[in-house]
């Protein structure tokens, strides 16, 4: 809102400056000014909404089609129905519980993959580049294996419990994080290391003050990729073998023919995925400010 107000202020100032140009016609000039302020206010709001028009259009069409009977509302409930269903489930405490379970699983797997992938990436990329080269084809092959296709195997080993789902997320996060960490470490300009060495820095200092900050932008790319994969895989896993979580909510709704609830679950998954990605982007901006500025410059 503050943006709009600033735009208005500028608008008024511009208008005042413009008045002497139309000398003698004070009254009509003022009238034009008022119209112009409205136009500017409209344009400012238009500017703010520009990114949202697609979504707004979709929602309006979605609402109209079933309401006007163009499509069958039983299979395609309007947003208002889904929203009502959402309010109902939130009030019952069901939806927050499912969201929390899914989120907890994702974050746990992501954290474990980070705890393994980043140190392993540094060891392979920084200390044993030969080993990294030697292992590269193998790691790439493993990374190409869809975690979901391993799910039956995980279930076989660990049963249909939390561990199998944890394994799926861990597996899907680990590879992108490991690969980007290795390439991040290897991408650090060797003159940075040379300079730090010339000042007598030891290995730990070089790691903490040169290699780690230098590799951080690349690591963040891996984290974002990993989190996205993890979330997708988790929903799929929850659809197969779970009794809670958003994936289960989708599956259960479809089996029981609860279409509004199914849509609600799908929308929640989309929003949650967006939030997760956005949180990581914000964290990245905070931690690697220099790189983000660099890219926009």
């Amino acid at each position: 809102m503050s943006n709009v107000r600033i735009e208005d202020g500028e608008g008024i100032m511009l208008e005042r400056r413009a008045v002497p140009a139309s000398l003698g016609k004070t009254a009509p000039g003022k009238k034009e000014g008022a119209g112009s302020i409205f136009l500017r206010r409209f344009l400012a709001i238009h500017d703010l909404l520009l990114d949202w028009y697609g979504i707004i259009l979709l929602l309006v069409l979605w609402q109209l089609c079933p309401t006007l009977g163009w499509i069958d509302g039983r299979f395609f409930p309007p947003p208002s129905t889904i929203l009502a269903e959402g309010v109902k489930l939130v009030l019952k405490g069901e939806l927050p519980a499912h969201v929390l379970v899914s989120l907890q699983r994702t974050l746990l797997g992501l954290a474990a993959a980070t705890a393994v992938g980043i140190p392993l990436g540094f060891v392979l990329g920084g200390w044993f580049p030969r080993a990294a080269r030697f292992l590269d084809p193998l790691l790439n092959l493993l990374g190409q294996i869809n975690a979901f296709s391993l799910f039956p195997l995980f279930v076989l080993f660990f049963g249909i419990g939390e561990i199998a789902k944890f394994c799926i997320i861990f597996w899907s996060c680990l590879w992108p994080i490991l690969f980007t960490t290795i390439s991040g470490v290897q991408g650090v300009d060797p003159t940075y290391v040379k300079l730090a060495r010339s000042m007598g820095s030891n290995g730990a200092t070089i790691f903490a003050r040169v290699l780690f900050p230098g590799a951080l932008p690349s690591i963040f790319t891996g984290l974002r990729l990993g989190a996205t994969f993890a979330f997708l895989m988790l929903i799929a896993a929850e659809m197969i073998g779970a009794s809670t979580g958003l994936g289960w909510l989708v599956h259960n709704s479809s089996v029981n023919y609860l279409i509004p609830r199914l849509f609600l679950a799908a929308v929640t998954i989309a929003l949650l995925g967006m939030t997760l990605n956005h949180t990581l982007v914000l964290l990245e901006r905070k931690l690697v400010r220099w790189r983000v500025r660099n890219e926009t410059a």
């Binding site: 300009d189 003159t191 940075y192 040379k194 300079l195 730090a196 060495r197 010339s198 000042m199 007598g200 820095s201 200092t205 003050r209 040169v210 900050p213 230098g214 951080l216 690697v288 220099w290 790189r291 500025r293 660099n294 410059a297």
Partner: protein, 291 residues
Amino acid sequence: MATHGDGTHKEDLKIVLKDIGQVYHLKKSADGSREFQALKDINLQVRAGEFVALVGPSGCGKSTLLDILAGLTRPSSGAVYIDGKEITGPALDRGIVLQGYALFPWRTVRRNVEFGLEIKKVPKSERRGISDHFIRLVGLEGFEEHYPHELSGGMKQRVAIARALAYDPEVLLMDEPFAAVDAQTRETLQDELLRIWDETKKTIIFVTHSIDEAVFLADRVAIFSSNPGTFREIVEVDLPRPRHNSDIRSSAEFGWVRHRIWELLQSRPSQECREGGNIVVKDAISPSATI
């Protein structure tokens, strides 16, 4: 214009290079391993507070010698002494400035300058005052919180110089520091470097491929020949000081010293040297040419 003798008093000596040789073992081919003699019989004595330039064709081992001085590379034979003590590795008594700046892009100007102080474990409260001083010395006040990508090439090199000076090394090792900036900036930076040298009394070893730069800056110029890299001659530059902010570059004496060095670089050219020699000739014709 006399070649350097050993007339200096021992207690004045800051750096002594004694019979430095460097041999690289190249990858083994079918006919066994091959060796490459990068440096051979390098001897040099540098007085405290002296400014010595190393010139020579590219690939003659200038940068290798600087790495040895920095302690980053151990020589295959011979030794380097600083204040009479043999150096065995890198330390904060020597500061280096590289051609590619090597500023940490994730650190602001101030944090770059403070890097060596952090290694030296100088408390944070003292670091600020020191970095303020050296940022002012190189004329970058007001840019403390800028990131390297927001600076021009010349400004980046000033930061690199401030960073090398901040932890107060007695010796400054500079590897073609001004090769990447434009001609005008280059002359400004040379003036600035002489002013800073005057103020800080550092001993400077300065690698360059530009004869003009060497003559303008240095007390003595060591001329390299390549394959193997060794000193052909060490020329005393007897031009008056202070030279910064003067038009000494257009004086007859300056031209004469420059010509003498150019001739030395031309004589007895080996295959590699002829190649590199051409680069130097270009420099001699257009004084401030950069690669």
